[in-house]
Symmetry: C2
Subunit: 268 residues, 2 copies
Amino acid sequence: MASVTVALITISCLLTPTIISASGDSLQDLISSGNYEFIDLSHAFNNLTSSFPGILKFKFIKKSVNPSGDKSAWYAANDFETGEHAGTHIDAPYHFYEQGKYVGDLPLERLIVSLRVADVTSKVNGNADYVLYKKDLDNLLNETFDKPCVLLFKFGWSQYFNDAQKYFGFDGTKAKFPGLSTEVAEWIITNKNILGVGVDSPSVDPGPSTDFAVHRILSRAGLYNLENVNVHGQINEKKCTALVLPMKIEHGTGAPVRLVAVCPKVTL
Amino acid sequence: MASVTVALITISCLLTPTIISASGDSLQDLISSGNYEFIDLSHAFNNLTSSFPGILKFKFIKKSVNPSGDKSAWYAANDFETGEHAGTHIDAPYHFYEQGKYVGDLPLERLIVSLRVADVTSKVNGNADYVLYKKDLDNLLNETFDKPCVLLFKFGWSQYFNDAQKYFGFDGTKAKFPGLSTEVAEWIITNKNILGVGVDSPSVDPGPSTDFAVHRILSRAGLYNLENVNVHGQINEKKCTALVLPMKIEHGTGAPVRLVAVCPKVTL
C-alpha cells in the first residue's frame, strides 16, 4: 500500500507543484510564489527611538562618512550604543528569571513559529489605564493552540511610539500604558504551544507596575516577550508565520529583534 | 484509507496548483511539519567578537544584575555598544555607494529569498592568500538563478572566527584572508536574481584590498553583503531559504544581522 501511495504522490508532483514538500523545495516555492506578504512588525532604530527609563536609548556614537575626503574612496560606517531593551526587542527569559535562558540560548525552533494575533484595540480604545483580563479574551480562551506560536496582543498603541509622552504616559513617577493582568499571564502559560508573548506597548506589564509580575510569570515558564512591536492596520489573526530573529547576543538579557509576519495575501 | 487520501490530494493538485497556499496555512504547516531544519549562520556577539580595524568591537557598557539586591525583585538588563560592521552583519548598499539604500530601506522581499551556497572550501584549502576567480566557479557560471537569492561563498573560514590573528591574518599593515575577485563581482551583478552576496570571511574583498573594489561593484548594483557568516558542516547548496533579518537601523550603513537558513531535512 505504501508503494502505491508514493507512486501517486509522484504523479501529482509531476502535474503540480503543490506537494512539493515531498520533493524538499516547497518553502522556496512558497516564498517566491507571490502568495505571501512580509509585514514588518519592527520599529526602526533612530534618534527618536523610545526606551524605558534606565534603558539606554539608541544613538550613533561615531559616524564616518568619506573620512579621507577623496570621492573615489567614499564609504560610510557607524558605531552605535543602545540598551538591549530599547525599541522593538526581545526579552530573554533570563531578563526576569535567574535560571532562564539568555538570548543566545533560544533555539530557532522556538523563534520561527506560527503567529496568533489578538486584536483588542477596540476594547482598549486609547485608554492608557487599560489592563487586559481573561474576560476580554472571548473565544481565545477556547482555542487549542495546536501549533507552536507567538501570541501577539494588539492594543492599538504602536501609533504613539514616536510620541514618548503619550506612549509611556508618564505622570510624575509612574508610567501609564496598557498591559496584561497576571491572570492572563497565568492562563497563557497553561498553553504549552505559546512560546512567546508580544505587545505593541512598552511592556507586557501595565505601565504602573513596579513588581513586573507578568514578566516574572512568563519568564519562569520559559517564555520570551516581544515589546514595542509595531503593528498597524489589518493583519490576519491566525494564518501568519512569525520570524522572530534577535541580534544574537550570547549572554543577552534581551536584544533588538527583527520581527516579521509572513502572511497569506488571499484567504479563500 | 490511504488510497482515498492520495486520490483526494491528486484531485486537488489537478484542480489548483496553489491549493495549499490559497487556503493560507501552508507556510505554517511547512514550518511546523518537522521536514525543515533551521541552521543558524550567525556568530554570537560576545567579548571575543572580531571586528575589522576601525570598527568598534561589541561590548557590554553597563550590566545591571539585581540592582536592588532584593532577591524577590531580581532582574537583569544590559546596554551595549558595537560597530554596525562587527560580527555577522549586513552591508547596506550605502556602505560603499552614496546613492545606495540604508539598512532601513531594504525591502523584506529582498531579504527573505532562496539561498545558494557555493562551497569552495577545498579550493581555498586554508590559504589566506586565496582570491576567487571565475574559473573556480565551475558549473555555477551556467546557472540561471531563476529565483531571487543570496549567493553565499563558503571559504571554510568560519572556524577561525574566534582566533583574530588567523581570521584577519594581519602581518603588520595589511590583512590576509580569502575574498572575491572583481571579475566574480562583475559576473554576479549580471545575474539579476542575485540580490546579496555572503562570505564566511571578514569581507567580500580579499584581505589585502585597500580600494574595496568588490564592495563598490556590488553596492553600485544595489546588492547587500553578508560578512562574517558562520557556516560550518554540510549545508544543502540549492534548496535552502535564507532569512536575512538585520536590526532595523533606519540610517544604518550596515547592522548586526540574524542570518538563518531553512533547509529541507530530507531530499527525495
